[in-house]
């Protein structure tokens, strides 16, 4: 619609220009011509009349000289051949009318009674003139002529002619402009068409065909170039926009992730504080009972049990935290060895069983008959499995059941399934339960909600072993099933150590000489008590020098050494002991609060055989002594 209007407008303008030019040119030419003609007409007419008058005068001179009006009258009568001359007269030199003539006898216009001054006088409709009749010797009289001088009529007829010529010219101009339009306007319309196309459809590929070599052609060329430029820039801009959008999306995701992680960390800190405090109250209570009731009594035993459980809980928490830290920073180095899966399962079960029993949950274990051997860090693997079982126990109410099932999968795979009848997981939460610090149930009634790192740890550990961990749940209240898949080593004969461990009954340890060095007197005394209860001989030392002296004195078979010892630190002490032939074969066990891999490495370099992180469990001690029993000691 608008576009059509534009097209019409440019056509109309073109025609207007042509017509206006023609009209103005014609008008100016007409005005000039008419003006010139009217001026000339008058001058010519006056000259003509003058000549006429002179001829008349000459012819009538004898008539005047010899008093012959009749002849003069006859001379004037000759004017009948000049239709424009309406009246004429001859006057004598003394001003008397001598002869007169009227073309139309009914013409009543009076003749001048006396001759006027020589010359002409133009009126609206006629022109009159006086000429003297002169001979070389004298003036004889005057000739008077009056003629029609129709300036208005002449003007009107000119006007008619001009109007006619203009109409014809304008028609011709209009026809010509229509013909010329084609060559001038068509390229411009082509440009307009393409501009329309570009504007409506954003089609920057459109081009105007170039048909002329004039300014319009140049315009077309420039327009096309500009289109190309605009198209290119638009494309670049859009590309940049898309890239920006993607970047923004990525950044937004990252920001959301950061916010989410921050939120989880906050929750984690709150939970951590809660979890760390939780065991403290029972511990204090139990301590109080012990003070009141005495260690030997029934209440005292119960109190010790409570303390034992709560301590375990605390240790677990701190262990988990350390592991989280290690895994997060990528500092976990697996001590991989060939280890029977049964051993790992047994270790895990041993850790979990008391808790499961306490919760009143039934635990069934199904393992295949054939031995399955993993290439794994048995401690880490057991930790992962423990986490899974612990998690199952936490979220299963009393009376529920946990099924642990170990199955072969293919030739070189193994599947460990932990299924419970607990509260289950809502489907929409399934993807997130392995995220760090994720907790589904925050209710206060659930005392063992934990830090939200157990499952995450388990998954990471399993993945570090080249396996995978998946969670499945029918929904809330319908239990949860965790499935771990791990690669295994195909072996046909179980090793002797594995057989030993698989039996699950460590041999009765022999009586050993044990050196215990720690600046924490409470620790050494309680540790010593425990060791002595196991039937070993124990010497305590509270700084490095003292420990070195004691070691030389008794040549211990096993030495538990703190790293942060006064006077001589644990590393130096270990080196000194290794240098001394008397203590070279002593099994050196680092007992420290530092459990990082770097610490373990330093310990190994210093000559330690083992590395334990405080607090030390009695089972760990038992394992060490069991190992001493099954493995021949270094030759002393």
């Amino acid at each position: 619609m608008i576009f059509g209007g534009i097209r019409r407008s440019i056509r109309r303008k073109f025609m207007l220009v042509v017509m206006a030019t023609t009209l103005v040119a014609l008008l100016l030419a007409s005005i000039a011509l008419v003006t010139y003609d009217l001026l000339t007409y008058k001058r010519t007419w006056v000259a003509d009349l003058s000549t006429q008058a002179d001829i008349l005068g000459l012819a009538s001179a004898p008539a005047l000289s010899f008093q012959d009006p009749k002849t003069a009258q006859e001379n004037l009568g000759l004017l009948s051949v000049r239709p424009n001359v309406t009246a004429a007269a001859i006057y004598t030199s003394d001003g008397r009318l001598f002869a007169s003539y009227r073309r139309d006898s009914t013409d009543n216009t009076p003749l001048p009674p006396h001759p006027g001054p020589a010359g002409h006088e133009a009126g609206a409709r006629d022109i009159s003139l006086f000429r003297p009749i002169v001979t070389p010797d004298e003036q004889l009289g005057w000739v008077y002529l009056r003629a029609r001088y129709d300036m208005t009529g002449r003007l009107l007829s000119y006007l008619a002619i001009v109007v006619g010529v203009m109409l014809a010219s304008l028609t011709a101009a209009a026809l010509m402009s229509v013909a010329l339009q084609a060559s001038v306007i068509r390229p411009i319309l082509a440009i307009a068409d393409v501009a329309h196309e570009v504007k409506d459809r954003r089609n920057y590929a459109a081009r105007v065909p170039k048909t002329t070599e004039d300014e319009t052609g140049y315009l077309v060329e420039t327009f096309n170039d500009m289109l190309g430029e605009v198209g290119q820039r638009t494309e670049d801009l859009e590309r940049a926009n898309r890239r920006l959008e993607q970047e923004v999306a990525v950044r937004q995701n990252a920001e959301h992730a950061l916010i989410e992680a921050d939120r989880r960390k906050d929750e984690f800190l709150a939970t951590l504080a809660h979890e760390l405090r939780n065991p403290l109250a029972p511990l204090r209570n139990a301590l109080h009972i012990l003070k009141v009731a005495g260690p030997g009594s029934e209440d005292g035993k119960a109190a010790r049990d409570i303390m034992d459980r709560q301590l375990r809980q605390l240790v677990r928490l701190v262990d988990d935290l350390l592991d989280v830290s290690r895994i997060t920073t990528g500092k976990v180095v697996l001590q991989r060895e060939s280890v029977p899966l049964a051993t790992i399962v047994e270790n895990a079960l041993e850790t979990v069983r008391p808790f499961v029993a306490e919760r009143g949950i039934a635990l069934s274990v199904t393992t295949p008959d054939m031995p399955l051997v993993l290439r794994a860090d048995s401690t880490r693997m057991a930790q992962a499995l423990t986490n899974l079982l612990h998690n199952a126990a936490k979220f299963t109410d009393a009376g529920g059941r946990i099924d642990l099932r170990v199955e072969r999968e293919g030739l070189d795979g193994v599947t460990i399934t932990v299924a419970d009848t607990g509260i289950g997981i809502p489907t929409d939460m399934l993807p997130f339960i392995f995220d760090m610090f994720t907790q589904l149930d925050r209710s206060l009634e659930r005392p063992y909600s934990g830090l939200g790192v157990g499952l995450s740890l388990a998954k990471r550990l399993i993945e570090l072993h080249g396996g995978s961990l998946e969670a499945a749940s029918e929904g809330q209240g319908k239990g949860t099933r965790f499935t771990a898949r791990l690669p295994r080593i195909v072996v046909f004969e179980p090793g002797p150590r594995a057989a030993t461990s698989e039996g699950g009954t460590p041999r009765t340890p022999a009586r050993r000489r044990v050196l215990l060095a720690d600046d924490n007197v409470d620790f050494t005394s309680s540790f010593a008590l425990m060791l002595r209860s196991m039937g070993h001989d124990v010497i305590e030392a509270h700084d490095g020098a003292e420990a070195l002296q004691a070691a030389r004195a008794i040549q211990p078979e096993v030495a538990f050494l703190d790293i942060g010892l006064p006077k001589m630190n644990g590393y130096d002490l270990a080196r000194r002991l290794r240098e001394d032939p008397a203590t070279r074969s002593t099994v050196l066990v680092a007992v420290t609060g530092w459990g990082q891999d770097g610490d373990r490495k330093l310990a190994a370099e210093a000559g330690f055989d083992l590395h334990l992180v405080k607090p030390v469990e009695s089972t760990q001690i038992e394992t060490i002594f069991a190992g001493l029993a099954s493995t021949p000691l270094r030759p002393s």
């Binding site: 012819a59 001179a61 004898p62 008539a63 010899f66 008093q67 004598t92 004298e138």
Partner: protein, 182 residues
Amino acid sequence: MIRWILLSSMLLATLSGSARAQSEDSDLERRVKAAYLYKFAGYVAWPDSSFPDPTTPVRIAVLGDDKLRSELATMVLGHTVNGRAVVVLGYTEEDSLAGVHVLYVGRQETSRLPKLRDEARKRSVLLVSEGDDAIDQGSVIAFVLSRRRVRFDISMTCAAKSGLTLSSRLLSVARTVVPAGS
């Protein structure tokens, strides 16, 4: 002067037919004739021999009418004909016509026309006389009275015989023109 003559002519026309004005009529008539006489000279072409010099005046001789002669002499003062001065002469029979261009013979002397005729023709003198028969007696131009107005007749024959050429414009105002060869 001319204006006066014309005025007189007008008076003459107005008062024509009045017996009491007979004497005045004669004076008017004489004055008109005098005026015509020198005006004729403007319409006549003389042979070149008649004017040997560019300054040669036009000589008009008057025979038998002294009043007219004096009238004419007064009239021509200060006037020219074809750029030449006009001289008026009295003429007697004894005088020669040599150097004369126009000879007027008054009414009383018309009987002498035949005698003068040959001499006049020989010397190309414009012979002007009076009366209806003056033409027959050899006059080139003859004054006549027509309806109380002074008119004149012209004889082309006499003009031709005198070696004179008369302007056709003069002929147009003549009462009668006797063509040549008749």
